[in-house]
Symmetry: C2
């Protein structure tokens, strides 16, 4: 059998050269005589890695001078609390667009800290599309407008950054950061857990516009207070040094692959290939409105649910793992983040066709 | 030159067999076809690791049924906020013993959430000792009594768990957890960042008495709410899977070394050997009252500060790294956590003696 292809939704596959490099760097990283995780975060070699990581990410995403980058822990769900705590102060309301399960979780958490206004929701149609911008109700006095750039469960993605109508725009980009260029200047805050496109769990990137640093609620814990971490170069507490290290390797790999534009083009082609195969088949279907389909998480159903266990068993035997859909939705899901090679998608398409011939 | 000996205060040296195992497990962990960090935390193999880790830690520390174990992120400094948020509710006061820089930070953070009463402080004598229990003022209505079991900067450690006088006892054991057996039943909460004695940064262990789960302030973020994480088996957010994996390897290594009692005895001998060498010399001195000396972090000063750069340069050339004291205190510090072999301490003692002969 060829190697395993890992379609896990997150934590998810790393680029093979990154895994090889992690192995090669053990037990002696960069001539330090230790592995990277055994060094103090304040030791010279790690400080160099840290500042290199910040500079590299700033260059790759063209983060303007007006924005700070901080590296935190706790993933997007820590940010579901940190965003209202940092930005809504004791005022509000905060405004949210509801396009799926992660939006709903972000909204539920925000309601604990401030008044929340839902600008628009696609919940009524089962989260099959992004509500058109024209129908959003965004109060002009709201503290910020939050959306989830890609919903991993159903596989729904904003094709472009929405207009915020003058209020700070906040995006959870956990599942599509670094999958294509973005215009950071348009955002108040961009945040993302690293475990899909930037490495491993334990690192959350927060890019925050400088003028938003001083609005925090007094009960915001110091280690998630953006101003405190910006001031401390993200070392107000001991960082998850392994996740920072892996992120630095992932950024190098993106450069080696031709940079963000090249990776974005490959992602576009991978998703197109897979949706085309699903749309062309009589057995598989994808329920998301085409313009809102995710390039990162491609969900599909088999015409007959009773076939699901057979599909999963056979795909696993073929070396295609992690295809089971999220437990809340059922069906199948192929997560095809940056690290998924074109070849992995081709193997899945070949399997889909073969399975349909035999069971369709 | 023999290998490097890493005296870093944290993140710090891992046991050599653990580093070797991490390398061997790349790129295919346990026949999954992926490295452990590429698997979903909800995938079967990782869920097995997670429940094994909880069970192993429970067995090793003899955690009673009355206590839950949760695994969080953000280190002890996240807990400096999480403890008052979870335990003081909107009441208080919280009571703290001040025995060093980490105590002071915990107190400063707690003051943001509740009234704080300082039961006793050794600040006036420069944190050279633990204030005797008899002089502590613990209000009987306080929400909890907090202390830092080991202060890494000066190197001050509680020789045994103090009496709490009937209020929930809370200890930051970040720098001495698993260095010796403890009586968990005596605690309301024990917490510890993993990056000294339990592996790598990105994991914080919190052991909490079940009846304290329901006192949280309403503004406690879900991912640091003990009750929410206990309910979710510590997966209310995506955990730092690498740190959980390394912790599981460290616990196996402790078993291989003969268990907690054997490790504790070795730690006692290592510290005794080093303090004896310091006390016997005319060049080096340790300023901590003997009964309060840390077995984990041994600080020492050279009679003449001007010798410090020479000492650091020569020790580094001898393969002894990470000996520079914390920037707030100066001098030298040897951190000799569980992973430090007796041989590492012997090499340091030999170097100390040789350096003194040449420069004393």
């Amino acid at each position: 059998m060829e190697g395993i292809v890992n379609f896990s939704a997150g934590p998810s596959a790393l680029p093979a050269p990154v895994v090889a490099r992690i192995r090669d760097d053990l037990p002696d990283w960069n001539g330090t005589g230790s592995s990277v995780v055994e060094l103090s975060h304040r030791a010279g070699p790690f400080m160099a890695l840290a500042s290199g990581l910040e500079a590299h990410l700033r260059r790759m995403l063209a983060v303007p001078e007006s924005h700070r980058i901080v590296f935190l822990q706790g993933g997007a769900q820590m940010q579901f609390a940190a965003v209202p705590l940092n930005l809504a102060g004791e005022g509000g309301p905060a405004c949210y667009v509801d396009t799926g399960a992660w939006s709903a979780r972000a909204i539920a958490e925000a309601r604990r800290y401030c008044r929340v206004h839902v600008a628009a929701s696609s919940g009524a149609d089962g989260y099959r599309s992004i509500p058109p911008r024209a129908v959003w109700e965004v109060p002009p006095d709201c503290a910020y407008l939050h959306y989830v750039a890609n919903e991993t469960i159903a596989g729904v993605e904003f094709a472009a950054e929405p207009e915020s109508g003058g209020v700070p725009l906040v995006a959870d980009m956990s599942s599509n950061i670094l999958s294509r260029p973005i215009d950071v200047a348009r955002f108040g805050v961009v945040y993302a857990g690293a475990q899909k496109n930037m490495g491993v769990s334990g690192l959350t990137v927060v890019i925050v516009r400088e003028d938003l640093l001083d609005c925090a609620h007094p009960l915001t814990p110091t280690v998630i207070r953006y101003a405190a971490q910006a001031e401390a170069d993200s070392m107000a507490n001991t960082p998850c040094t392994f996740a920072w290290y892996v992120a630095s390797l992932v950024l190098e790999w993106i450069d080696d692959e031709g940079g963000l534009d090249a990776v974005a083009e490959r992602n576009r082609r991978k998703a197109e290939r897979l949706y085309r195969a699903i749309d062309a088949s009589d057995l598989y279907s994808n329920r998301i409105e085409p313009a809102s389909r995710s390039r990162m998480n491609v969900s599909f159903e088999l015409g007959d649910d009773a076939l699901d266990p057979t599909f999963l068993a056979e795909s696993e035997r073929a070396g295609l793992v992690g295809l089971k859909g999220h437990r809340s939705l059922g069906g199948m899901r192929a997560s095809i983040y940056n690290a998924m090679p074109v070849q992995g998608v081709e193997r899945l398409v070949a399997f889909l066709e073969d399975f349909e011939r035999r069971h369709g």
